[in-house]
Point group: C2
Chain length 330, copies 2
């Protein structure tokens, strides 16, 4: 193929002026060097995004650049870690410069907003695939692990739920995004394509939350991960009850029937909000933390020493529901 | 698809008993936690391998598991870093359990040999793609950077050159691996499919070598990287001269015509040997280091304060050559 080569592409789109940072050596050598700073250990997470599976082939590349990093920063947030840097591996069917320019714009806008430096990468030819590995720092004793929920903890969730899954369902049904301005769908599409990683919340929850996880598979599935890991860690069987009326269903879903709203909030994936548990004694501090960073935090239920997940109406009556998390191989 | 789901796959093939290690928290949370230990900073590298580009669709999955990690460990070796752990992101067209079992065997055999722990990952459906990010530790002042070559340095290379590229050329020409036992080709295929990362050499070269790089693009291209980066760093134009007779051409190529052997040694990629520079005063120590770890080290030339790469015969007469490195987008 004619056109710029691999090293030229890297230089043009992904090499940036050196800045004083915590990466003593960035892009261009066999490895990058990263110093964890004063906080002791590095938090590391990796996510792979595949065309046709995690995003549509006609995705806006700027939004894709944002989302590819956002889902990784969301993992740092769920750990209470402060972003340091990331690596990017990219398989591309062809070297499309307009596409790469827009992708890099979306990627670096979010990276800069979080002080997260691109430290290394790999570029190759192949079916479109993005793999980002992100690094953050966290004092080990303050890391927000998913296995630390305790009987009696409040269950909290940030922001709103269900909009991303609804946008995805609309798009799959229609086969394309509508041209006309449907305000709820425009809002929901923004939630799907440009999730905001809750990094500031993760930092604010250090020393406050017991357990935390980011919502990627859907609320029910992700609560299940917390319960499974925390039960094993505590040596007791933990479950949870949720108050349906407390679920912060996204306003984009206001026009939908109640059962559908509930289903999307419970089972819809891709919200990238934080789910966390904290002792009841910390309610005031949790609400203060949310107010400080300008993010609504909703207390949606409680951890209990009884297996399973229960959903209640405002009168305490059980609501039947069936919701599964998303699994790439089912 | 029927069959095991994503989380079950991860559990079955990639979760292993916890061992006391430098990853205080491994697979199963939003992030892994990695402590760099006493050595100060983390060395990080990422490589993406795509089916049909970096390996054949019919590749032995056990060899692929080995190679996917080996090319990453090779980057740590080239930095003088000690392996700590790695993340694995995997896109698979289907959940083939026999394939995954063999892949995991090859992967973990090499990981265990180097004390390198799988700390996290991601599994998704998609065209076969492997992305590994590897972490090692290195005292920053002892990191073997590619931009530290100096005028007058000896140029050294470990092991042998050219066999991997020859095996690849044979396979591409024949369209399949031959069934019959052609000893040189069997040896060469082993070099292509099961490169041995020179981790012990990287550690032995700390404080001894000036610059180092691993040979993935081919000797000429990789020397070019060292010269380009070191010239920029030193503010002088550096070049190199190579002695053709000193190149450690792999014995698998003994039956080939001399110009072809030279071409493969100079331009063939995928050798994953280390190329390094060291002051002439360190010759004895370099040879001792090679003897200690049982790896032949060949002094193949010298860094000079004159642009370009020159090749000489044993009588000092120039040999014309034309060799390019491999570029995924050319």
């Amino acid at each position: 193929m004619a056109g710029p080569g691999e090293f030229e592409l890297i230089r043009r789109f992904f090499r940036r002026p050196a800045v004083p940072a915590r990466a003593p050596l960035g892009i261009g050598d066999d490895c990058a060097l990263i110093a964890p700073g004063d906080e002791g250990v590095l938090a590391v997470s990796t996510d792979m995004l595949v065309a046709g599976r995690h995003f549509f082939d006609d995705v806006d590349p700027e939004a894709l650049g944002h989302k590819a990093l956002a889902v990784n920063l969301s993992d740092l947030a769920a750990m209470g870690a402060r972003p340091i840097g990331f690596t990017l591996a990219l398989a591309l069917p062809q070297a499309d410069e307009a596409w790469l320019g827009a992708f890099a714009r979306g990627l670096f806008a979010l990276a800069d907003a979080h002080g997260c430096e691109l430290v290394g990468g790999d570029t190759t030819r192949g079916p479109l695939n993005l793999c980002i590995t992100v690094f953050g720092s966290v004092p080990p004793a303050q890391a927000l692990r998913r296995d630390r929920a305790r009987d009696g903890d409040d269950l909290w969730v940030s922001g709103t739920l269900g909009a991303a899954a609804w946008a995805l369902a609309c798009r799959l049904q229609a086969g394309a995004w509508p041209d006309t301005g449907d305000a709820p769908l425009i809002r929901a599409r923004g939630r799907l394509e440009r999730p905001e990683p809750r990094v500031a919340l993760g930092l604010a929850l250090r020393g406050l939350a017991h357990a935390a996880i980011d919502l990627s598979d859907g609320l029910v599935g992700d609560i299940g991960h917390v319960l499974e890991r925390s039960s094993a860690e505590a040596g007791v069987t933990l479950g949870a009850c949720l108050e349906a009326a407390a679920l912060p269903v996204d306003p984009a879903l206001d026009g939908l029937p109640e059962p559908r709203r509930l289903e999307l909030a419970l089972a819809g994936g891709d919200d990238y909000e934080l789910l966390f548990t904290a002792p009841a004694s910390a309610r005031g501090q949790v609400l203060d933390a949310g107010a400080r960073i300008g993010l609504t935090l909703s207390r949606i239920g409680r951890i209990e020493a009884a297996a399973g997940l229960r959903l209640h109406d405002p009168h305490g009556r059980p609501i039947a529901f069936h919701a599964r998390s998303f699994d790439h191989f089912r």
